[in-house]
Amino acid sequence: MSVLVDSDTRVVVQGITGGEGRFHTEQMIEYGTNVVAGAVPGRGGQEVEGVPVYDTVAGATREEDANAAVVFVPPAFAADALFEALDAPLDLVVAITEGIPTQDMSRVYRRLQETDTHLIGPNCPGIITPGETKLGILPGNIFASGNVGLVSRSGTLTYQIVDNLTQRGIGQSTAVGIGGDPIIGTDFIGTLALFEEDPDTDVIVMCGEIGGEDEENAAAYIDEHVETPVVGFIAGRTAPPGKRMGHAGAIVSGSGTGTAKSKIEALGDAGVPVGTTPDDVAEHVETLL
């Protein structure tokens, strides 16, 4: 089993005719993802990698029964594409796009609250159920099928940790990159809840970073609601206050909130061991399986 996606997931790629959209559509199909349609205004009737393109997401869902979208639309048009996906409606929307204006995401998030759709991202690598399907840009070859659920705010750091797991022969049920932006769809708590419900996820790896209070909130949630063992990792232990590091959300504020220390302590208080290096995380997981 897995969470959110499996081999039945029927994917429409928004922005399939762009460079990234085209490349990763090819990669997804190669991995086994069931990409049933593309959606690009004005490009209806074309084909990309053998996939039929529609002018609207509604057309793609109507004609091809798509139930999930991956969004590669450029930042200026991404919010509109997300509203379109939420309107379709779809069960799952994965927004890869980086650099969506924060106020646009605030409005998308507002609409999201009124739907039953899961939004992953934006500014995220996507979601993968190894051996079944991947929606996004994650490099499929590093993943292996197994029983560890992984949730991460970071993209490439996810790959790093997965790589450490796989190298030790530990496979993954589903890995979810929730994205590093200040406003995202499904967060740590939402993903933890899904893994907790999944009978085939035996250990959860939660990979956070400095900035905000999501990790602290997730720790409290774990303490109350999660039976499945969780192993944590927090990036940015050495980040100085006041300097934003890459992600718009990754900043230790002047008043001292959002530090790695606070997050690691919160996780510790919730009984979550926190690895000091990615491989240390994998080692912790190994002992729990």
């Binding site: 969506i100 204006p101 507002r110 970071s154 993209g155 790589d163």
Partner: protein, 384 residues
Amino acid sequence: MKLHEYQAKDVFAEAGIPTPESELARTVDEAVEIADDIGYPVAIKAQVHVGGRGKAGGIKLVDDSEEAREAADAILGMDLKGYTVKSVLVEEAVDFVDELYVGVTMDRGVGRPVAMVSTRGGVNIEEVADEDPDAIAREHIDPAFGMHDFQARKAVYDAGIDREVAGDVASILTTLYDLWEERDGADAEINPLMVTADDEVVAADAVFNIDGDALFRQPDLAEMEEKAAGDELEAKANEYGFEGANYVRLDGSVGIIGNGAGLVMTTLDLVDHYGGSPANFLDIGGGAKAERVANALDLVFSDENVDAVVFNIFGGITRGDEVANGINEALAQFDEIPKPVIVRLAGTNAEEGMEILNTDLVQVEATLEDAVQAAVEAATEVNA
């Protein structure tokens, strides 16, 4: 992206928020002339992107031409927390009886904007927020509707603003919110919003930070951006398109380049973990092509504190072959490689990349841990 006080005040004033009479000066003579025109007392205020200007000596109140000259002379060219002051705002001094605070920002915790009002203006509002959170009235805004008029009134009355100025403050808050929304603000603040003896309210300071991701639709504000804030390396980073948060200079000796903020931060943490000290954070982002990689390497080489460089790429969108080509290109320019470079490639097209890499010029490591340890060792050797 930050606006200077004078720029923010221009934007606020154009929207109808009352501001004191003021003008920008870039020379001492200009400053004195403007001060004479405005009439004394005036404030001379350094225009730099650092907090706590006042305490650091960047703001002076002067009573005549002579004092104005002295103050302008002292402030122009001074170093404020690493930034050189290139201009000052010469401004009518407001005779106030009260200092208020109004602000708008995004509350990322709830994904909604929040408007704030407090009677505790004129001091560091973050300290007020920490010590006495109830002293700030907060009103969350539904981004689909924008701020309702009643919300501005509610924030103002909840904050305990005097009845005499409540209407004016509410109207300023409404204007500030609308500006924040229309101009893609990140933070908009007036602190202090001064109240005069005859119940007029004036924005005595102004902060307006813009969402960098939205500058494409705010071309006039984008033009106000003052790049190359002083540090030569940051200027170079900007020039190369490693905007703001993608390059952060630190004070160690191991140069760090990677793709993805989390992975780069982790690399910094590992350098520290293995006894080294990071010289910088540099995220080349997703899907970087060869030229960008070469630029990154040139930037880190330019930092004289750097003794060794570790390159850590885990490809998703980014392809290992592109990175390898970039590294080869960048290093090909040198007769001798100035600083040892340790490379670790994984993920998309990592094998192709490994094959492309010129191992005469770089040291290749298979794991992150090995790469970081090698870099820390190399830096230590240089310093030994």
